[in-house]
Amino acid sequence: MKEGRFFDQPHNVKRLLMGFYIFLVLLIVVDLFFPKHPVVPWEGYPSFYGAYGFVAYVTIVVASNYILRKLLKRKEDYYD
């Protein structure tokens, strides 16, 4: 079987990322003009969801790696 090498080529990855960034900008722009009916007040802020997703993701990475893992990691044979 021929090996797919798509992601080994940096320019392919770059193109994908560029497309992704354009999509993100579109999401922000459309959000500004989209009529909303917020049930919870924060929902009405521009791009609240995007900001929350970004902050939540970074929080999870930082807290799990630098707090949880530091405190609770043990060697793989800890229970043996």
Binding site: F34, G50, G53
Partner: protein
């Protein structure tokens, strides 16, 4: 009264014929059993069926209403998919039988109209599930299975005592709404809660599921917790404490899953997180919330099975499941990669996939009830799902750094099983109507509004952006070969202390006392069982 057998009996009795069949006949029979059970679930009319006198009570093996029927669909569909996935195991009759018994237990609990047959069904599921863990044949699976059994026997005991007191107080064994109203109800809630992996009662799940057989885990991940969700929806809808238990369940596992190295253990923590959404929905208790919880149970069974199957396929082909050992497999397992990605975007709740159309009902129910804090917590947990199940699983197995492993796609039955689950994830995402039509309450909810699709794309896409930026900046932490302590530390270490103390106090001369198998110090598996993949 109607003719034929209850769905549970079809699987339980049918299982015993499996060892006597061979070749294609056996394969056909294995697939036929869950298919017949499914058709039975479709065709039984609503009402009370299969009533059997027992002492002074009536046991009801077929209480059929909208709530029990949809769980019946779930358990029979996943039995079919799981059996298809395991079809290449020609000489593993024990696993096929145990899988059918476990699914039969789940179906028995679902259609039980009384607490006695509910209890017996749940215990059957526990015992059959333990076999699916032990069948792996490793020392780790033996000790994990033993801990699984002990924890669930404890849970079963709480449930049994709760049931006895409840029956004594009310004079009825009917399994209906119980509600939190005294000692018996607390014991019953704890019994269900252990099966449901409530916080602090959850450690058995990430401990045992990754040690089970590749095909067994598909059944385990679908049955035990979802049967418990059904029991909660039946007995404790609108119980406020469940809201916060559920919320806690959605949050704490995402931190564990984020740094866990074994990808099947990541998926196990992910089960706790997903069941948390359902428990919170049942706690809110409105028709929208309960509908959301049940719909999410249905969808979760599909995408979680799909993810477990794709990781199982990787393990079947490479013998590995640790993130640190894998990577770059998209080159040689493109189909498995595609199926895994479909499972990953479904569980993350991307629009047009099934997770989106059910999880959003629970979040909407939270806002409709004015629970802004709960909504923020569940939204945070949604970003967490994207992190560990949406990105981490496919990224570390199939992309990331190239591990140099060159393999091929798994057997065709595994591909077909994954394909079927993937198809259902997409179909329900695109056309949620048929799922909404079978929910317990009439549905007045539209998932595909412009604002909702936009908001969800924002939440998930900017979380993906965070991932990309951290990777590009070299700031994203790498996986390392460690284990993480969880609540099971208390009984795993506690058991060792207990044995040493007992040995010291009673001066037991036998060597076993010095090396208890419970705490992982066992010298091997009884009978010298062979090791299964």
């Amino acid at each position: 009264m109607i003719n034929g057998l209850p769905p549970a009996a079809i699987l339980i009795l049918g299982a015993f014929l499996v060892p006597f069949l061979k070749g294609r006949l056996k394969s056909a029979y294995l697939l036929l059993l869950p298919a017949i059970a499914f058709i039975t679930v479709v065709s039984i009319p609503e009402g009370i069926h299969w009533t059997v006198g027992f002492l002074n009570y009536d046991l009801v093996f077929g209480r059929v209403d909208r709530l029990s029927r949809i769980f019946g669909y779930m358990f029979t569909i996943i039995s079919f998919i799981g059996t298809l996935y395991a079809l290449h195991l020609e000489n593993e009759d024990g696993q096929h039988v145990a899988a059918f018994l476990a699914a039969g237990g789940a179906l028995g609990a679902t259609f039980a109209g009384d607490l006695v047959s509910l209890f017996v069904s749940l215990e059957l599921m526990t015992i059959a599930s333990t076999y699916l863990i032990w069948a792996r044949g490793t020392e780790a699976s033996y000790t994990a299975g033993m801990r699984y059994l002990l924890v669930h026997l404890f849970g079963g005991l709480c449930l049994l005592v709760g049931i006895i007191i409840h029956v004594h107080q009310t004079g009825s064994i009917e399994f209906g709404v119980i509600g939190l109203n005294g000692f018996a109800s607390y014991l019953i809630l704890i019994g269900f809660g252990i099966n449901c992996a409530f916080p602090l009662l959850h450690a058995w799940l990430p401990d045992a599921y990754p040690e089970a057989t590749i095909t067994g885990t598909v059944f385990l991940g679908a049955l035990t917790t979802k049967a418990a969700v059904y029991a909660l929806a039946r007995a404790f809808p609108g119980t406020e404490v469940l809201i916060w238990i559920g919320a806690a369940m959605t949050v704490f596992p995402i931190f564990y899953a984020a740094v866990e190295n074994d990808l099947r253990r990541v998926l196990s923590y992910s089960i706790v997180n997903q069941v948390g959404f359902m428990v919170a929905g049942i706690g809110i208790g409105t028709t929208l919330a309960v509908n959301g919880a049940v719909a999410h149970a249905f969808n979760n069974i599909l995408f979680k099975a799909l993810l477990f199957m794709s990781m199982g396929a990787v393990m079947h082909q490479t013998g590995k499941s640790n993130a640190t050992d894998l990577g770059g497999l998209y080159k040689t397992m493109p189909l498995t990669t595609l199926f895994c990605i479909i499972g990953a975007v479904s569980i993350s709740g991307f629009p047009f996939f099934n997770g989106f159309v059910s999880k959003s009902m629970i979040l909407a129910a939270a806002t409709h009830e004015g629970m802004g804090m709960l909504w923020l917590v569940l939204l945070f947990a949604s970003a967490g799902v994207l992190h560990h199940a949406g990105i981490k699983i496919p990224y570390h197995a199939f992309f990331a750094h190239d591990s140099g492993i060159r393999t091929k796609e798994p057997p065709v039955n595994m591909i077909l099983a994954m394909g079927l689950a993937a198809f259902l994830c997409i179909f329900i995402g695109l056309v949620p109507g048929p799922l909404y039509n079978i929910l317990p309450h009439p549905v007045d909810y539209q998932p595909y509004t412009g604002a909702h699709v936009l908001d969800q794309f924002q939440l998930l896409s900017f979380a993906v952006l965070a991932f990309c930026l951290l990777i590009l900046a070299g700031l994203h932490p790498v996986e390392i070969r460690v284990i993480l302590l969880d609540v099971d530390w208390f009984y795993r270490k506690g058991a060792k202390v207990f044995y040493r103390l007992a040995k010291f106090l009673f001066k037991d001369p036998s060597p076993e006392a010095a090396s208890p198998q419970l705490s992982g110090e066992g010298k091997g598996i009884p009978g010298g069982a062979k090791v299964n993949p």
